[in-house]
Symmetry: C2
DNA sequence: TTAATCAAGACTAAATTAGTCTTATTTGGG
DNA sequence: CCCAAATAAGACTAATTTAGTCTTGATTAA
């Protein structure tokens, strides 16, 4: 099954919200309530986005988050890495398995064409940015 | 995370095996042993492929499976449906949720662009056939 | 009759994903 | 100074999905 994680959906919804706020400060609570996203979960997503320099944060009362990058500078491939970690179509393609952890090893007879397909799907994700979702 | 299921990998490996057997009868056991695929799991995959007219089966001793379709007639989109069921990038895109089961409902603000992206990814799957994996 | 095979469904286990809880820390304002 | 509202971070639990196993039965060539 090929599917965006809930986290990715939430991240996109949140980033759309930030984009529409046009640089203003927005709190996790505001986004959580407006879009019906579990607060704690959203908070962690925003923290990840901060860690990867997509957002900046302001602590304390009157605090919140702000967009650091422009919506059209945030592509979905980057976002997937930030939110979900490695994106790979099959186990043997992802980076932490390059050194022979894939149980199929040389027995796996479909690796090459899968790699090609992987590339094509990655390109789709790279070609989409948050601005496409606003 | 976007990833092919193990079942899809196994199905592709098995179908490649059938393709190379050029119409000959192949048993589940043979494929299972040669490619290190759990027998019972593979057996169920082959049964699904039979149900969707990709393979035909012959029961009894000397039995086995045979390709019914040509490798280039079996595209990965069809295969995903056969093996994994619905393929949808987000919950609200998949057919069994059309009637309002998606918890985000109208609150979901990213539906349209996701639908477009979904279409592009589906097109990639439709453009690949088993013959690309042989 | 027996052994090898497909057929089918129930069951269990493992892995992943989603969501919650708890305990800080920061900071503006009364 | 203290409180309330906010971010920060990690442990924990729950739910879902995926992978794999077990069992029982039917078919058929030798």
């Amino acid at each position: 099954m090929v599917r965006l994680s809930k986290k990715m959906e939430y991240a996109l919804m949140a980033l759309k919200h930030f984009a529409l706020a046009e640089g203003g400060i927005v709190t996790a609570k505001e986004i959580s309530e407006k879009h019906n996203i579990p607060y704690e979960l959203l908070a962690k997503i925003l923290q990840k986005l901060k860690k990867d320099k997509v957002l900046s944060s302001i602590q304390g009362t009157k605090g919140g988050y702000q967009l650091l990058k422009k919506p059209d500078e945030i592509d979905l491939f980057f976002l997937m890495h930030t939110i979900d970690g490695d994106m790979a179509l099959t186990e043997c393609q992802c980076s932490h398995n390059e050194n022979g952890k894939c149980t199929l090893k040389e027995l796996c007879t479909i690796k090459q064409p899968v790699t090609k397909m992987q590339k094509e799907i990655e390109d789709i994700f790279k070609s989409k940015t948050v601005s496409d979702f606003v």
